[in-house]
């Protein structure tokens, strides 16, 4: 992807565009040849207007050399009309919803006359209705002759929107097939190289005491003044795995970070066993046995400049300290044990953390919290951006620890995960826990309906017909992509 967009040069091989081998030396070069990319993390300047963002780096000039705002505005308005989004060109990007911001990114690509549009996980931040709008835009674009490379780990989506599926695994292209000929299990099979239908559902056991008791917790966002978590009460027992299902923006991450002690709660109580955690900081909570595996691995989970081992030992470092100094042998031994325990594939504990794949990095983040010997483990989207095989391993690990008495509360936005890997599903929507479901009896639809997602079924029916032969949409499902 970085190569296609001209950010990096290939170390070997060649690119062929319209039958001619090309070399893309920079992003501007790629854009000039009609290749545009929309990154997972949106590349917009939120303090500038829609118009400025669309023309950033390619500003139109009047004869005097000043920016031709008039023409820019007209083109922007025309693009918005084409994309059927009633956004005024002068609106600041920070005032738009994430879905609308994505539309701006698409508009920017179109303004540059993109013929090939690469979308990297475009729906990861969108609600169901916004996904629908995006899919409509994609179909319109393909009808107009724009080729789209749609990168996703959301398999249902990929199958729905694509004409061709291309599966990558660990940097290798492993399969290509017409979308009409494939189904979900085909994609999964190609991605893991075997059938990975993990199913951890078990008969209800007698769980232990209540390990974590969340009682009427309310969290307000100090920036916006909005209440993001509203009077949530959850009990998690020893040995129980509770799944908190909800869309992005439902308040899940805010709840998790408040429980971990990063953000203050504005109402309610959190009890760890018998102990009220009010006034206890992050370090105190970790020491008491409550750890969080954060959602954003790169931003919150890993210290990039450190080795695998040093990342692993960071939260439990004080347990290796004698006479104010770190006892290296103790540290090395516990790290080595944990690497085996959580099955991290690394050449050595001294390897740089950034040299590992996403799944293995995630195992390090989980392992470092397990080294603190927690009673309760919170995980926020523990399988985000990792391949199916690693997902199964991570859940196997959690269920193994749960059997030993660990209480687990994890957040997910993938229904499949909620249904196959939990003892109890709680659905969260708009800051509240709205429903409790039993994964052994409930259906996919029940979970999604409770979360406020619209039913995607009828929408999927019309999908295949909408793609015309003038444009091609290819989908790339990539387990461990950049």
């Amino acid at each position: 992807m970085k190569i296609l967009s001209g950010v990096e040069q290939p170390s070997g091989g060649q690119l062929v565009l319209d039958g001619e081998p090309v070399e893309l030396t920079s992003t501007t070069d790629a854009v000039a040849r009609g290749i545009s990319i929309i990154h997972q993390e949106l590349n917009l300047c939120s303090n500038l207007s829609v118009r400025d963002n669309i023309f950033i780096g390619r500003e139109l000039r009047t004869r005097t050399g000043a920016i031709d705002y008039g023409t820019e505005r007209d083109i922007t308005a025309a693009l918005m009309a084409r994309l059927e989004e009633p956004i005024r060109p002068g609106t600041l990007v920070q005032d738009l919803r994430v879905g609308q911001q994505q539309i701006i990114e698409i508009a920017r690509a179109l303004a540059a006359d993109a013929r090939i549009l690469i979308m990297d996980e475009p729906t990861s931040a969108l609600s169901a209705s916004e996904v629908e709008v995006l899919f409509k835009v994609i179909r319109d674009l393909t009808a107009q002759g724009v080729a789209i490379v749609y990168i996703s780990h959301h398999l249902e989506e990929a199958i729905e929107i694509a004409d061709y599926a291309v599966v990558f695994r660990d940097g290798d292209l492993v399969a290509t097939e017409k979308a009409a000929n494939i189904d979900l299990s085909w994609v999964v099979r190609q991605m893991v190289g075997r059938e990975a239908d993990y199913d951890f559902r078990e008969e209800p056991r007698n769980y232990g005491e209540v390990a974590l008791s969340i009682q009427g917790v309310t969290v307000a966002d100090p920036d916006s003044g909005r209440v993001v978590v509203n009077n949530v009460s959850i009990d998690v027992r020893e040995g129980e795995i509770v799944c908190l299902y909800g869309l992005m923006g439902a308040g899940r991450t805010e709840l998790m970070e408040a429980l971990a002690g990063r953000d203050a709660i504005s109402g309610g109580r959190v009890l760890l066993g018998e102990r009220d955690l009010a006034g206890t900081g992050i370090a105190g909570r970790i020491a008491a046995g409550l750890g969080l595996v954060p959602e954003d691995r790169q931003r919150d989970g890993l210290v990039q400049m450190m080795s695998v081992g040093k990342n692993m030992s960071l939260p439990s470092l004080l347990s290796s300290v004698r006479n104010f100094l770190i006892t290296r042998r103790t540290e090395r031994e516990s790290v080595a044990r944990e690497i085996v325990d959580v099955r991290v594939k690394t050449s050595s504990p001294d390897a740089l953390i950034t040299s590992l794949s996403g799944g293995n990095q995630q195992k390090v983040v989980i392992g470092k919290m397990l080294l603190t010997q927690p009673k309760v483990l919170l995980l926020d989207e523990p399988t985000r951006g990792i391949d199916v095989g690693a997902k199964g391993e991570i859940f196997a690990l959690l269920f193994r620890e749960a059997k030993k008495g660990l209480a687990v509360l994890y957040v997910t936005s993938e229904v499949g995960e909620a249904l196959t890997a939990s003892h109890r599903i709680l659905v969260m929507s708009k800051g509240r826990v709205v429903k409790e479901l039993d994964p052994r009896t409930c259906t996919r639809d029940e979970v999604m309906a409770a979360s406020g997602e619209s039913d995607l079924e009828h929408h999927a029916a019309g999908a295949a017909a909408a793609v015309t032969d003038s444009g091609t949409a290819a989908s790339e499902s990539n387990g461990a992509h950049q």
Binding site: D300, V303, V321, L325, I326, A351
Partner: protein, 377 residues
């Protein structure tokens, strides 16, 4: 207790120690970066030794070492701050303020409400003065850590505040004669101790060695050191791992202030006077030493060994330029160019390293492809 620091004997002893760092394949790049500073040091020494017979004499080496020591001690404090991703511009002023406080304590303190004047004992003077340096650092740390103010702005403001207070305390007059103390008052011995040369090396050099060893142990063997590297590389991740990031941040500025305070005392003893411009621009030399020593201004990367070498590079260069008679104006141009060259080489080295990694990965993948093809065919 094993020491990991290379004691910076002026040439010779360094290269071997820096080259072999057992069990540190991870820090290959760091070793390269330090190696580069070391190569620069050797080149500088070689050039000036050829140009002047007076360069590599025992007398001149002692002079250099004394000057380097002041900068190196400050730079060690600066290293702590830079590892955290911060910067401390106030250290030069803290040196001046420490000196002014010490001078005033020698002159005696008028006790309020009485006619009495108090003359503290020598050790009280020294401790109080250094404490003032630490207080400056603590204020920096408090404002930066608790109020989330930008280190650059806070310490820039403190640079003015501390320098201004220095001038207030000295009121336009240097304090010189009182520093010798008076047997009657029981505050003698300042120069005997702080301008002494145990085993022929100036005391400041011994302090530098002591600080280098202690800071090196702090950085490599204590949780505080690990926490410091972690917060410098990714503060959010460190915080969620239970690292007390605010406490770490406050303490490093106190440590930086401590270094400034110690240098303040040593420098007053060295020039036998407490003056208003003492320590001016020390912060810039210290930053240069840390950067030449391979530290990243964005935090998370840097070492005691590199910083000490960096301080020696600056010291040997400045001294050599004087000895061969380069004009003071050109001295500045050359020193500045060397600093920029150091970071540019660092960057180029990283680019080359990345390319080499990519090429190696491709070669490995091709090899694997051939093997799997051979196996299946």
């Amino acid at each position: 207790m094993s020491t990991t620091t290379t004691t910076p004997a002026p040439a010779g002893a360094g290269p071997a120690a820096a080259a072999k760092s057992p069990g540190r394949s991870l820090n290959l790049n760091a070793v390269l970066v330090e190696g580069r500073a070391l190569i620069a040091l050797i080149i500088i020494i070689a050039i000036f030794a050829l140009l002047s017979d007076n360069y590599l004499t025992a007398g001149n080496l002692t002079t250099i070492t004394k000057q380097v020591a002041f900068n190196a001690i400050i730079a060690l404090g600066m290293l702590m701050v830079i590892l955290n991703g911060g910067i401390d511009l106030s250290v030069g002023s803290a040196v001046g303020l420490t000196g002014a406080v010490a001078g005033n304590l020698f002159r005696g303190v008028d006790l309020p409400l009485t006619d009495a004047v108090m003359f503290p004992k020598l050790w009280v003077i020294v401790i109080l003065s250094v404490a003032v340096g630490m207080l400056v650092g603590w204020l920096n740390g408090l404002l930066i850590a608790r109020l989330n103010l930008a280190p650059f702005i806070v310490t820039l403001g403190m640079l003015y505040v501390a320098r201004g207070l220095t001038q207030v305390l000295l009121n336009g007059q240097n304090i010189t004669n009182e520093l010798s103390g008076d047997p009657v008052l029981g505050n003698t011995g300042f120069f005997t101790i702080f301008a002494s040369r145990p085993l022929g090396l100036p005391l400041s050099a011994w302090v530098m060695i002591l600080f280098a060893v202690v800071f090196s142990i702090i950085l490599t063997r204590t949780p505080f050191g690990r926490w410091l590297y972690a917060t410098g590389s990714n503060e959010r991740a460190a915080q969620l791992s239970g690292v007390p990031v605010k406490r770490v941040q406050t303490r490093i500025y106190v440590l930086s202030g401590l270094c400034a305070g110690v240098v303040g005392i040593l420098q007053v003893a060295n020039i036998s006077s407490s003056t208003a411009d003492l320590g001016q621009f020390y912060e810039l030399n210290a930053i240069a030493a840390v950067v030449i020593g391979g530290a990243a201004l964005s935090g998370g990367r840097g070492s005691v060994r590199g910083t000490i070498i960096g301080a020696f590079v600056i010291g040997f260069l400045a001294n050599g330029l004087v000895i061969v008679g380069v004009s003071p104006f050109w001295q500045q141009v050359i020193t500045g160019a060397v600093i920029i060259l150091a970071v540019a080489v660092d960057q180029i080295q990283q680019i080359v390293q990345r390319r080499r990694n990519a090429r190696r990965a491709v070669a490995n993948a091709r090899q694997a492809n051939r093997e799997s093809a051979a196996a299946s065919g």
